[in-house]
């Protein structure tokens, strides 16, 4: 069994499902011969042909709109937006059509499509290449938003997203595309959508996060351990709909919660989680909920981007602050 990176796990899952299901097609800019700008589709066109891996004209509206058309007629397109910042033209087709085709036709039609995109900052990319826009998608009814944070979860969750009978926005944390290697068996086993993954058990505080911030959050948990604080770490993974039960169960145990995300604070998914805890677990809280997030600013160009990104230090600091409450 090979040790592979997160981006290689994406490729592996795509190849697996293309082999297993002839209706799966990969559809996007430079996904063919070039294998995608991050190499996520490397080798797929050579293996499956150019009628399964389609290099599209440079038009994001077209990519999303044609995916709606294909998905409604028995195909399972997996679209790639080259970067999350170029997904915005797709909003019309994702929100007005993909997300509501089943609903508005009373189940006569459906839209099993995956919209993949490299997502988030921290790789010294040019302008418009570093947004964390998961809350945008999470707000719209009718579409799931899924974010893996490790090679094995990228493999299992992408398989689940492709097999899901409804539209999924699948955001890939590009900062950790090649951060770690993990043994991933190409066994076609999917991981469940709509559930959180508890990455680390702890008893004193719950750290909730997703995507690339899992890296800093796990580092923070180790740091806290040194000062005798036992932190539980939860990877939300599916940010819409959110598995609040797992988060509530953890907070009922620890009584404290820090939510960490790279996206801006205002109307971020962290706010939704905090509100869910306030509604259902407030009597178990020993301390205020803290959010460690990106700022409500434009993502800076790369020279300053690390000033924007939540750091391990900020997470530890927030955790220590609420550890003061007994």
């Amino acid at each position: 069994m090979a040790e592979i990176t997160l981006v290689e796990a994406v490729t592996l899952a795509l190849a697996h499902e293309m082999e297993a299901d002839p209706t799966v097609v990969v559809f996007g800019e430079d996904v063919g011969v070039n294998g995608g700008v991050f190499r996520a589709t490397a080798g797929l066109q050579q293996k499956f042909g150019d009628d399964r891996v389609l290099d599209t004209p440079l038009a994001e509206v077209m990519i999303a709109g044609m995916c709606v058309g294909m998905a409604s007629q028995g195909m399972k397109p997996v679209a790639e937006a080259q970067f999350e910042g170029f997904m915005y033209p797709m909003v019309d087709h994702i929100v007005n059509h993909a997300a509501r085709l089943r609903h508005r036709t009373r189940g006569r039609m459906s839209c099993p499509v995956v919209f993949r995109a490299p997502w988030g900052g921290g790789i010294h990319a040019p302008e418009h290449h570093s947004d964390s826009n998961e809350a945008t998608w999470a707000h719209f009814p009718g579409v799931r938003t899924v974010i893996p944070s490790s090679p094995s979860r990228a493999y299992g969750l992408l398989l689940a997203a492709i097999r899901d009978p409804d539209p999924v926005v699948f955001l890939e944390p590009k900062r950790i595309y090649r951060w770690q290697r993990e043994e991933v068996e190409d066994n076609g086993e999917e991981l469940p959508l709509d559930v959180c993954f508890v990455l680390r058990d702890g008893t004193d505080i719950t750290l909730v996060t997703w995507g690339a911030m899992v890296k800093e959050t796990m580092e923070a948990a180790l740091e806290l351990e040194k000062s005798g604080v036992s932190a539980e770490v939860i990877d939300v993974a599916t940010v819409a709909p959110i598995d609040m039960e797992t988060i509530i169960e953890s907070v009922e145990k620890t009584g404290r919660c820090v939510i960490v995300h790279e996206a801006p604070k205002h109307c971020g998914v962290g706010g939704e989680i905090a509100a869910g805890l306030a509604e259902k677990a407030i009597w178990h809280l020993k301390a205020p909920i803290k959010r460690v997030t990106g700022y409500d600013t434009i993502m800076p160009l790369y020279r300053s981007e690390m000033n924007y990104m939540p750091s391990t230090e900020r997470i530890v600091s927030a955790a220590n602050e609420i550890m003061e409450f007994e």
Binding site: V61, V68, S72, R106, R108
Partner: protein
Amino acid sequence: MAATIASFKVDFFQFLDQEGRLVDGVQIPALARDTKQLESLYRLMTLTRVFDKKAVALQRTGKLGTYASCLGHEAAHVAIGSAMREEDCFAPMYREYAAQFFRGVKMSDVLMYWGGDERGNDFAGPKHDFPWCVPIATQCLHAAGAALAYKLHGQPRVAVSVVGDGGSSKGDFLEAINAASAWKLPLVLVIVNNQWAISVPRAKQNTARTLAQKGIAGGLPSIQVDGNDLIASRWAMDKAIAAAREGRGASVIEMLTYRLSDHTTADDARRYRDQDEVDSAWKKEPLLRLRNYLTDQGHWDQVKEEELLSECAERVNAAVEEYQDRINNDPQPIDSMFNYMFKDLPHHLEEQREIARRFPAKGGSH
């Protein structure tokens, strides 16, 4: 050096003039001699007009929500629907009822939709046809996607979409042309140019001589026809669909017509256009000229016309009854708001569904 490396022309076709006479000097399609088929198409155009008038009346009396009239577009729409096979795919905008009637959509489906009930979109027509599409021109890309699916599956099926003159300004339309050209898709894009994008007249939309030439810019064969001439419109559709089905790729047809109604019942066109223009458009309307032609051919007369009108009124009334019976006696349950969001209901929606069940709107659905 300087050289012309590309130039283009747009051909215009009209076979039946506004008086209902065949024009001289062009080869007339066989359909012109097939009076039996023309009569059946005329019957559907008339049914559509009677239906349309009734739908507007229902809105005016509070029995239907906002409704988009198709008055004046009947020839274009009948040409589109009648040229398609059942296995083909139609991606309409929101007023191509005649095309949809041809494909099996019921008049009561149309009323259900504009009457605020999603079940109208679960219509009796082909289950692979797209529902009405309000976001302008997006349907062009859905049709292009369907066409790509058929092509990849090796199926001899064609996707047809309709856009207005207004919608032809949108990127979706142009991106569909581009994609259809790149992949040689089995697609027909019809611009039903009714001269008005709500209140903005054709002349203010752009200075291009035709809208068809937008197709040429993207590499597609594109023509313009008199959209009030059923014979020309149907002939153009037949040609385009045959080319698409035989693997010769997509094309664009601009059908020139006129929106004799307001944009929708929520609009009042008197605010922005002259009655003189509307009066003059009525002289070119599609039913009158086809009726004149069939009458001249000895295939139609006043008695038949009156019989047809009363038969249409009966059918429309029956559709209205079916619609009213369904919304009044078989309304959608509250659960329907939740049950079609996803194939399986996620947990958080179960919770919200419980709340909705506990707090139904006072007075129920209306």
